[in-house]
């Protein structure tokens, strides 16, 4: 039974996902040749933990990309989520208890504004999310400049981001739970089906009686919430929130989703691919950083490797 299940699983898997996982193994082998410590469990678990933050953020990005949209408001949504969660923790035990949900809620709010812009005002997502990012930044600047809000993470945030259960980082467990939920939502719920449908052809989805605007709106709100949750975890990891802590997550999130075989045009892509993309990007960044290459060389290698991997499996079909 199991002997049969495995080849079936591999046969059904997207070649893009398989290649992405192949690239991960290749990277680890190269890293391992450079230094044995790249294969040490500590290092791998550490990467898994760090990848989880990007993984949570990329999950939201993937939802939006499946719709054929993009979310450029990630940087300041991450920051806002982190800062708001920490800030609310200053208000007594209730504040501490509400810290995480409140941070996520703020992200959902930003996402909802994106959603209104994209779904109801029909502004291209690339530009609404750019604008809301600027607005979120503005609000955070005023907020931290006016007085000094509490910005240290709560114990719960610390625990989620840095704790372990049986040696497995909690962050990775969270990502796993979130991932399973996402796979379920995308594959088995009418929301997920609608997301794919809208990504392929919104007009047809609308005429099929789907409330496409609501779905788009929910997807953006979810993306905002997940970015903010990523921010909350990052704050837990660093044990505090800080301005512009989300800057480093926008391009990697997009790259991870696309390296995982999700079409940037929407309608096609699997969550396993995103998982592979996230791990790939995290490992790549980490190995390049530790290999002591000067920044210039690192950037060039990073760029070239992404292009190379995409050329391996990320090409659109030829017209003929």
């Amino acid at each position: 039974m199991t002997a049969n299940a495995l080849p079936q699983f591999i046969r059904k898997a997207d070649p893009a996902v398989l290649t992405a996982f192949g690239c991960i193994i290749l990277l680890l082998v190269i890293g391992g040749i450079y230094s044995r410590s790249f294969l040490s469990p500590e290092y791998l678990l550490q990467q898994l933990k760090v990848a989880s933050f990007l993984g949570v953020i990329a999950t939201g990005m993937m939802l939006v990309v499946l719709l054929g949209q993009i979310d450029l408001s990630v940087p300041w949504t991450v920051t806002a989520g982190a800062m708001m969660a920490c800030a609310v923790a200053a208000y007594g035990p209730v504040g501490v208890a509400l810290a995480i949900p409140f941070g996520i809620f703020c992200g959902a709010l930003i996402g909802a504004i994106n959603g209104i812009g994209v779904a109801y005002l029909r502004i291209p997502s690339m530009i609404v999310t750019l604008a809301t990012n600027a607005v979120a930044q503005g609000i955070m600047v005023i907020y931290t400049g006016g007085f000094s809000p509490q910005d240290s993470a709560t114990d719960a945030m610390r625990y989620l981001a840095t704790g372990t259960i049986l040696g497995i980082p909690n962050a990775a467990i969270i990502w796993l739970i979130l991932g399973v939920a996402t796979v379920f939502v995308l594959g088995r719920t009418s929301f997920g089906r609608s997301v794919y449908g809208i990504g392929n052809r919104e007009r047809a989805a609308y005429l099929s009686g789907i409330n496409t605007r609501r779905i788009v709106m929910i997807a953006f709100a979810a993306s905002g919430a997940l970015s903010a949750f990523g921010g909350v975890l990052l704050a837990g990891y660093a044990s505090k929130a800080a301005q512009s802590m989300g800057d480093a997550y926008l391009l990697p999130a997009i790259a991870a989703v696309v390296l995982g075989g999700t079409s940037i045009l929407g309608g096609r892509g699997s969550y396993m691919g995103t998982v592979a993309g996230v791990i790939l990007i995290t490992l790549l960044q980490s190995i390049l950083s530790v290999m002591q290459m000067p920044e210039a060389g690192r950037q060039i290698t990073y760029g070239l490797l992404i292009i190379l991997m995409l050329l391996l499996y990320g090409r659109s079909p030829a017209i003929r």
């Binding site: 088995r188 719920t189 009418s190 929301f191 089906r193 609608s194 794919y196 449908g197 392929n200 052809r201 007009r203 047809a204 989805a205 609308y206 005429l207 099929s208 009686g209 789907i210 409330n211 309608g267 096609r268 003929r320």
Partner: protein
Amino acid sequence: MEGAGPLFQMEGISKSYGGVRALQDASLSIRAGTIHAILGENGAGKSTLIKVMAGVVSPDQGQMMLGGNPVQFASPAAAMEAGIACVVQELSLIPELSVADNVVISNPPQRFGLIDRTAQRRIAEQSLLRAGAGDVHPMALVKDLPLSRRQMVEIAKALTRKPRILILDEATSALTASDVSKVFEVLKRLRSEGLALLYISHRMNEIAELADECTVFRNGRNVASFPAGTKSDGEVVQLMIGREYQNVYPEKPTAQADAKPLLEVQNLSWANRLHDISFGVKPGEILGLGGLDGQGQRELLLALFGVLRGLEGEVKIEGKATKLDSPASARKKNVGMALIPEDRKTEGLMLPMSVRDNLSFASLDMLTVRGIVDKTKEAQSIDEMVKLLAIKTGALDSPVSSLSGGNQQKVVIAKWLMRHPRIILLNDPTRGIDVGTKQEIYLLMRRLADQGAAIVFYSTDYAELIGCCDRVLVMYNGAVETELLGDEITEHALISSALHIRPKENQPRERVSR
């Protein structure tokens, strides 16, 4: 002018898409100065054949000869160079460019290396005129034109290339009778000028009027070639579908029960395009919408389906005034409406998605429990529909884009029938569909009506309206011009109302634009 050897020959052409054999050892031979018709049911491989001819698709096997010399086309541009122009089934116009830009697209006039807009305009005007589309403004954007006008532009575009071989793949499927007759004049003139024309259509009467020679395709092969007029329609259809051909239209019920109208429309108006429309449809009734294309029939259907904003007037379902402001509200249980949209590729289907996902897409709300899809129920419903409509597909998990036009259309219909709708709006559902499938659809419509559905059926094909409908509303300029009942539905009545023929007036035609 005839009598010489064939101008173009194809031999042993095969083409497979994955597991699907679109063409299998097909051959064809066409002569200059003739119109060669290609017939075949949906998915027979006609479009694939001409795509090979036009350099759009490269064959897996086989040779092509042009004027006796072997040729191979690396791209559409190469085929064009060789004098083959193509009006394809999937329109090849660029929506954001103007009509003039599109017409001269393959070889725009240039001055100093830049496109000469004045000359381009002149050429475009001439071509449009030649194609019988002088009413299209050359500066209008293609995306703003109705489908029928786009088809005319497409023909004008092909003519601009001064081809030796002109291929029309269901070029007339979106056209109304008057446009068709204009196009026919053009085609006949071209034939007399010595062109070879390849003509694909599912409309037998068109082929009878035009063709000199016919070739029938079935399952990717050419099964017979014969001079036009040497076989009866019945024989031809039998060749196409490989079985006996019977009367196309199902029996109409003799008298309607005196039921209350299920759908009622009162004084419906919209944005200068629909004017004061009132009618009702009873359960079991098939109400036809007739008239020239673009007289508001599509808008009427969209209005009923909740797509249009700012409607005036009232829509009643079972006598209750009901506000329909989205397809979502129109498909609700208490309304139970379904719309088979105009353009299946952009409005009916998500082409890259699987047949399965497309089939269940409109019924997700009924197949889910608290938002979660019930897989068993879904599979059951899908099986039921595939059987009901005899959808031909390799695998349900293959993308719906790999189905032939007719089967795609069946998927669109099936996805709505899965909801068991009470009110069914059909927007030209048989466009580009072979006779066999058409017949299945007519039968289905009648069966649904007999089961108590109210059907509103718009068609550009008069014969269909006559054959299927219990009642026909002929529309003109956004209003109901005439209502024809039972035996009143004749070709003569349809055409004269459609053309708004009153003794004195002679309406000048406006330039078409939206």
